[in-house]
């Protein structure tokens, strides 16, 4: 803190916004700075109507809910665990300034500048203790694409580098990893702030993907060591991954040991037999039961198929809404058998029962999403967030 305080006394031209305005030919308005995050509140995710539920994707053709109480108790009574790695990524975004650029005709337009802190961390559970194993923290900025008026190649990395070389940031040991340009074209009805936030979010997902891929490449994951990732699985293999057919097969198979668990989801995508949205099917899910597994494809992610199911961790009577306490679980269909006939239902039951057993203790009181949290993920999230620069210190950089 003392070092941050020191930075106040520096002359203004050294401030980040001044450097940026100079490098991009804009005019900084020194506007009100504030956080624009809502991520920590329970919510329904209404996005991605593109996702299509397809056929059942498990070996037993279940038509209704599956009770897992017995299996959960059985597994809990055995001193055995297969969920051992936990990964969480989070970001905090702030509006740090308004900046004006002169457009054709001499008219200038004001755009927001968004700054973000991204943290992606992974914890490993060994002998019933959860210990951090990896953390990646990044500071990024998102600016309107018009700031690079000429579209020079390498403009953004060069600007980020220039910024990070300024005395003030150097002294604080802070670097901006990237400047992410957001699109300013008018054929998108999203607000500029949201577009910028989406850029930061994408960067976070990229960072998560890299961390998962590292764990996969290092061969740390296997049938006795699953990775539980907070949020959806959105992985598209890279060109390098695909380069060698055999290496790619091996790599892909390692995703067998990764599951994604989401606290927020869009219950509307759950369809009944007639293809009509049926969110009630998830809302009425009884305690410690799971839904059948369905397959969905997301056109955004290419030919990779996903299996999805829902588990109720908390009694509906004890939560605020019927979707609280329901966990959405995703798994990539990896093996030949899985892509053909679906995941082995017994494996789904086992994974679900282990997840049910992760529901206690709860982070009641310290997190509004307590009903949907599983504790090791909450710990990982807390670990990542504990490494953030405080909002005040961060905003004072600008």
């Amino acid at each position: 803190m003392s070092r941050t305080a020191e930075s106040f006394s520096k002359p203004k031209h050294n401030k980040i916004m001044n450097i940026l305005a100079e490098a991009t030919g804009g005019k900084s308005y020194k506007a009100h700075k504030y956080p624009i995050d809502y991520a920590d509140r329970p919510s329904i995710d209404y996005g991605d109507s593109e996702i299509i539920w397809k056929r059942r994707a498990e070996t037993t053709q279940h038509r209704t809910y599956i009770n897992l109480l017995g299996l959960s108790k059985k597994l809990a009574s055995r001193d055995d665990q297969i969920l051992s790695y936990f990964l969480d990524g989070s970001r905090r975004v702030f509006k740090v300034d308004d900046i004006a650029y002169v457009q054709s005709g001499g008219r200038s337009i004001i755009y927001p500048v968004i700054a973000g802190q991204i943290g992606v961390g992974c914890c490993h559970r060994v002998n019933k203790k959860v210990v951090p194993v990896q953390l990646k923290r990044e500071f990024v900025l998102s600016m309107p694409d018009v700031a690079d008026a000429d579209g020079k190649p390498g403009f953004w990395p060069a600007t980020a580098k220039k910024l990070s070389e300024c005395d003030e940031l150097k002294r604080l040991g802070i670097e901006f990893a990237a400047i992410l340009p957001y699109k300013t074209s008018k054929n998108d009805d999203k607000k500029f702030e949201d577009r910028a936030t989406a850029c930061v979010q994408d960067r976070m997902i990229e960072s998560e993907k890299k961390l998962v891929a590292d764990l996969v490449r290092e061969g740390k994951l296997n049938q006795n060591n699953y990775l539980v990732k907070d949020g959806s699985l959105e992985y598209r293999p890279t060109k390098e991954d695909k380069a060698d057919k055999r290496r790619y097969q091996t790599f892909k198979n390692n995703y067998n040991w990764v599951i994604g668990v989401s606290k927020n989801f869009n219950p509307e995508v759950c369809e009944d037999i007639n293809g009509k949205p049926n969110p009630g099917f998830i809302a009425d899910l009884p305690l410690y039961h799971r839904t059948p597994v369905v397959e969905y494809e997301n056109p955004m992610l290419g030919d990779i198929k996903f299996a999805v199911w829902y588990i109720r961790l908390r009694d509906k009577e004890k939560t605020r809404t019927p979707f609280d306490g329901v966990l959405k679980v995703e798994k990539i269909l990896v093996t030949e058998e899985e892509t053909e006939v679906g995941i082995d239902s017994e494996q789904v039951d086992t994974l679900s029962a282990y997840l049910i057993n992760e529901r206690n203790p709860v982070c009641y009181g310290s997190d509004l999403r307590w009903a949907n949290h599983i504790y090791p993920i909450y710990l990982t999230e807390s670990f990542v967030k504990s490494r953030y620069l405080s909002a005040e210190s961060f905003l004072h950089l600008f």
């Binding site: 053709q61 297969i82 006795n224 198979n253 030949e336 017994e346 494996q347 086992t350």
Partner: protein
């Protein structure tokens, strides 16, 4: 000393004539790779768990590649190690293979068989290319009278090469089967190969079979190791496909589950000879074939010996083996797999092994599945009585009986069923009295899980009987015809008589159906 001649036919015996199932080639090459991985771990070339065996099938190219990252063979001894036949340095009881003939099996199924290897610290990759097609041609000529010696054939088909490599740290052994014969296309069928390896290969149990930890724990207590290796097929890891549920053949749905594992150890003179685990279920019936894991399977060094039925002959009844899932691990060094690896060589150790297992199977295991099925059927009888009794009471209450005789006939059926149920209960009590630890567990499970009888819904009377019906008052029961109050007494008597005839000549269900229809028609 005289030079003895080995004719070309000996090669036929060691290759095409050796095995019934072509898939054994996977077992043979895996077995060799495992031995080399063990050696590599011992020599500290690999750390424990670093050894891998990768199998790649290419259906389009018609090739099979099996590669390990173990010791590899040094260039200096490559030709001797691979060229000589039945001259292995391996030791019986220590190594999984020891005959020095297993690697030849591939010669039967492809056009060309290639062995490639490099040892750590060497800049040489050695190759042995065998013209398998030519070998089969020469053997064929031999059987038609154009005599060749084994030596001549081997010289004609084998070629050795060496190449330089920059990667001196690499160490591997690779088998390549090029151009698989059309009649052996099964060898390239991914699913068939995977299913085969899931039970034959020395691989870990899949983690959804959570009793695996009990099995490991027991092995640890016995001081034995279950050999397990990382084996992948086209990149997919192979696991032993044990599950905790038992499925029905017709529906594919769960009918029973494995709720625990039971262990049995066999000793001779205080030394562990063999040990086994057996899955405990309600033993309702012989496990249907759809459950791939069924049968007590025999393993040595964690490689399956024979098929799922290798131990079937030790049961008095053929069906015995199919009631169980489990594995018998042979430990004693004198239990030597035969060259086909479908059973053990005949010797005193095998005789003792069979004696002990036969005794346990027929005295203990047979009792369990017999008692299991007796208890299951006894409970079925009890449940049947409960159901019939409740149905009778419901019918009585609803006034479904046509007349006294009808009621009595049905009551008789209930009473007969009651008697059967009483006998069944007696049987269960007797079994319970005698039951020991495992049997008790099975009985408890059957009692907890038995399905509760479902009571059939009885049609309620259309109209409640009138109070002034003297006959019903007299008999103390409602008559079926009481509900047909629009008819006079004489008519009802006639209808009642018809109903009575129907109930006496047909079974209760059909009678009920006909009578209901008549009632509907008369309304």
């Amino acid at each position: 000393m005289k030079d003895y001649v080995f004719g070309a036919n000996i090669l036929e015996n060691l290759t095409t004539g050796m095995y019934q199932d072509s898939k054994v080639i996977y077992r043979e090459y895996i077995q060799n790779a495992c031995d080399q991985i063990d050696k590599a771990v011992k020599d500290e070339i690999l750390k424990q768990d670093e050894g891998t065996i990768k199998i790649w099938l290419d259906r389009d190219q018609r090739t099979i590649v099996i590669e390990d990252n173990a010791t590899g063979i040094p260039a200096a001894s490559f030709q001797q190690t691979l060229g000589n036949i039945a001259d292995s340095d391996k030791k019986i009881g220590e190594d999984k293979g020891f005959r020095g003939i297993g690697r030849l099996c591939g010669l039967a199924y492809c056009k060309e068989l290639i062995f490639i290897s490099s040892a750590k610290g060497e800049d040489t990759v050695s190759l042995m290319v065998c013209d398998a097609k030519k070998m089969r041609g020469l053997i064929d000529e031999n059987t038609r009278g154009k005599k060749h010696t084994a030596n001549e054939v081997l010289n004609a088909i084998n070629r050795f090469e060496q190449k330089k490599t920059n990667d001196i740290d690499s160490h591997f052994f690779r088998v390549e089967l090029i151009d698989i014969n059309p009649e052996n296309t099964d060898l390239l069928d991914f699913q068939q190969v995977k299913d085969y390896l899931s039970f034959v290969a020395p691989v870990p149990y899949q983690s959804s079979f959570y009793y695996r930890t009990d099995v490991y724990k027991h092995a640890q207590e016995l001081g034995v190791k279950i050999d397990e290796y990382n084996i992948t097929l086209n990149g997919e890891p192979i696991f032993k496909k044990y599950t905790t549920i038992l499925k029905d053949s017709s529906t594919g749905t769960k009918y029973d589950d494995i709720f625990g594992v039971h262990f049995q150890d066999f000793y001779k003179n205080g030394e562990l000879f063999a040990w086994m685990w057996v899955g405990v279920s309600r033993f309702q019936k012989a496990i249907p074939k759809i459950n791939q894991m069924r049968g007590l399977r025999l393993r040595k060094e964690n490689i399956q010996i024979g098929g799922e039925d290798a131990l079937q002959k030790l049961f008095k009844e053929d069906r015995g083996n199919s009631y169980f899932i489990g594995e018998v691990f042979a430990v004693n060094k004198d239990l030597i797999p035969n060259s086909q690896r479908d059973y053990f060589n005949e010797n005193p150790a095998r005789a003792y092994f069979e004696l002990e297992l036969r005794r346990y199977f027929n005295e203990e295991l047979r009792k369990i599945y017999y008692t299991g099925s007796t208890i299951n059927s006894s409970y079925k009888k009890i449940d049947a009585y409960e159901k019939k009794n409740t149905e009778f009471k419901e019918k009585d209450k609803a006034g479904v009986f046509v007349d006294k005789e009808h009621r009595e006939r049905e009551l008789k059926v209930v009473l007969e069923s009651k008697k059967e149920a009483e006998n069944a209960l007696e049987k269960i009590d007797k079994i319970k009295d005698k039951a020991d630890g495992l049997m008790q567990k099975v009985i408890q499970r059957i009692e907890v899980e038995r399905p509760k009888p479902v009571i059939a819904v009885v049609v309620p009377p259309i109209k409640p009987p009138k109070d002034d019906e003297e006959e019903s008052e007299k008999s103390g029961m409602f008559r079926r015809t009481d509900r047909l109050s629009q008819y006079n007494k004489a008519e009802r008597k006639l209808i009642s008589k018809i109903f009575s005839i129907i109930t006496s000549v047909t079974d209760s269900k059909t009678a009920e159906m006909i009578i209901s229809k008549i009632e509907e028609g008369l309304q």
